[in-house]
Amino acid sequence: MKANGSVFKYGDNVDTDVIIPARYLNTPDMQELAKHCMEDIDAGFAQRVKPGDILVAGKNFGCGSSREHAPASIKAAGIACVIAATFARIFYRNALNIGLPILECPAAAQAIRAGDKVEVDFETGVITDAISGDKFQAEPFPPFMQDLIAAGGLGAYMQRRAQA
């Protein structure tokens, strides 16, 4: 599986309050929430993002609240993959649990620029920046997390586990 898209680039400590402000959390409808995704850090994001685009950020991406609405609204907005130097832990597990592809790669997070065209190969963890020509190797997931991703989320994984 591969992702191929334009990059939206943000800095360190992007928190879940700017990813999806709590004032919109009076609905669990992720398509509705996607209209307000990143609104408090990048007001035009929801209008500019196209299906398959890639979000790149610095360290501690998704810090703050446990709201699953954050990765879910990013996914519903059409983002195919989030690459960050590091992720806050609740965001990390939420992304895996709901099937939003994420990759930790400090070198890519630093070098890739806004607007670059980037290809991500999820099998190998190789990230290629088509503009600069740079290639980066992301941290591979441990086997359990690969199983979780392959199952398509925690619900399917737990059902398979119960049957095994």
Partner: protein, 419 residues
């Protein structure tokens, strides 16, 4: 192999003799928590786990607190979704507004629902609060909550730990909030990412339970998976007084390995404030300069307990809130509200010109009951000062203790309670 206190609790719940940092485990849950924002999403995910009924009706707690009492029609719909699910599933610990309800992390310990040695997950990042009781508790998302409700277990990556050695005694008007803000300033908002904060040292004995709840509550603001306190006589007395189950006391091995150790001398601590827009932007209030404010919020899962209201009332008593300031006091639970009323604290606040609210998370996350306009500044006893957290993206939040918040309300600017 030597283990930290957190690792021992995780090992026991995974049915393993030992666990090591980085290991991925499945562990049994003693309690699964959700609120009116995260539970509706979890209810949507629940069918994906292939079960009709929850794993244990007595081990799930559902609390309408974030946008409750209902702030608008959509919020009312979310609360109704949760209420219907609770009834249909026969959830024993559903707490209705006004019926001994309140802000979840103040409410659960008060109701005796968490005991030492428990493993608790909650679809709310401040679930780490119960580490004050010697439990492992951590915030998760709604899918994890659904998993917990269906299967009674979920996955964990075993954390390493930072040991926080506490010594000395607080000076007057310095409290748990100053300690945790100071610590976050020291190690940063990702300083304990994927780690436990394990508190230790002779200084802990002097910390009240309310101090410990405040400290454990904000472990997440340093990126920690959990914050945890050793169980002592004060913990045991609290658990007994609140009718909690028989505690299981775990202690860190003397030779447990820590990734880092941090020292905090309470004698040296002063009133501390976190400037916008990160909890790590800490300064001593005395060195903060002149910050004129428009609003003060005293409450939340961090600082809405009776000890917090007493500290604020002691400063405000006999004074008036500055004419340019709206001071909003929010007792965290119905029981705290009642105690504050019986002790005369609500009267002190009201006479001084504060408004006293029903228990709710309300303004802390920019929900309602005190939203900030463009350019406004607020001193809050809450836990986050991110961009737009309490309202307009160009508003500012200064995180501080109840004593600092109260002193600031009177002064009309960020103020040191000693003055």
């Amino acid at each position: 192999m030597a283990m930290t206190m957190t690792q021992k609790i995780l090992a026991a719940h995974a049915g393993q003799a030992e666990v090591h940092a980085g290991e991925l485990i499945m562990a049994k849950l003693d309690l699964v928590l959700g609120n009116d924002i995260t539970t509706p999403v979890a209810i949507g995910e629940f069918p994906k786990f292939g079960r009709q009924a929850v794993f244990d009706k007595s081990k799930i707690a559902l609390v309408p607190d974030h946008f409750a009492p209902n702030k608008d029609i959509k919020a009312a719909t979310q609360c109704a979704t949760m209420r219907k699910f609770a009834k249909a599933q026969g959830i024993e610990n559903y707490f209705e507004v006004g019926h001994d309800c309140g802000v979840e992390h103040a409410l659960l310990p008060e109701k005796g629902l968490v005991t030492a040695g428990d493993l608790v997950i909650g679809a709310d990042s401040h679930t780490c609060t119960y580490g004050a009781l010697g439990a492992f508790s951590t915030g998760v998302g709604s899918t994890d909550m659904a998993c917990g409700m269906a299967a009674g277990e979920t996955w964990f990556r075993v954390p390493g730990a930072i040991k926080v050695n506490v010594k000395g005694k607080f000076r007057p008007h310095v409290s748990g909030k100053d300690l945790i803000l100071h610590l976050i300033g020291l190690i940063g908002v990702d300083g304990a990412r994927y780690q436990s904060l394990e508190f230790a040292g002779e200084g802990i004995e002097a910390l009240t339970m309310d101090d410990r709840f405040t400290i454990a509550n904000m472990a997440i603001e340093a990126g920690a998976k959990n914050g945890i306190f050793p169980v002592d006589d004060q913990t045991l007395a609290y658990l007994k007084a609140h009718g909690a189950k028989e505690p299981k006391v775990y202690t860190a091995d003397p030779d447990a390995v820590y990734e880092r150790e941090v020292e905090i001398d309470l004698d040296e601590l002063e009133a501390t404030v976190a400037f916008p827009h990160l909890p790590e932007n800490t300064r001593k209030v005395r060195e903060a300069g002149e910050i004129k404010i428009d609003q003060v919020v005293i409450g939340s899962c961090t600082n809405g307990r009776i000890g917090d209201l007493r500290a604020a009332a002691a400063i405000i008593k006999g004074h008036k809130v500055h004419p340019d300031v709206r001071c909003i006091v929010i007792p965290a639970t119905q029981r705290v509200w009642l105690e504050a009323m019986k002790e005369g604290l609500l009267e002190i606040f009201a006479e001084a010109g504060c408004v006293v609210s029903t228990p709710t998370c309300g303004p802390c996350l920019g929900g309602y009951m005190g939203i900030l306009a463009k350019g406004e500044k607020c001193v809050a006893t809450t836990n986050r000062n991110f961009v737009g957290r309490m309202g307009h993206v160009e508003s500012e939040i200064y995180l501080a203790s109840p004593a600092v918040a109260a002193a600031s309300a009177v002064a009309g600017k960020l103020a040191e309670p000693e003055d």
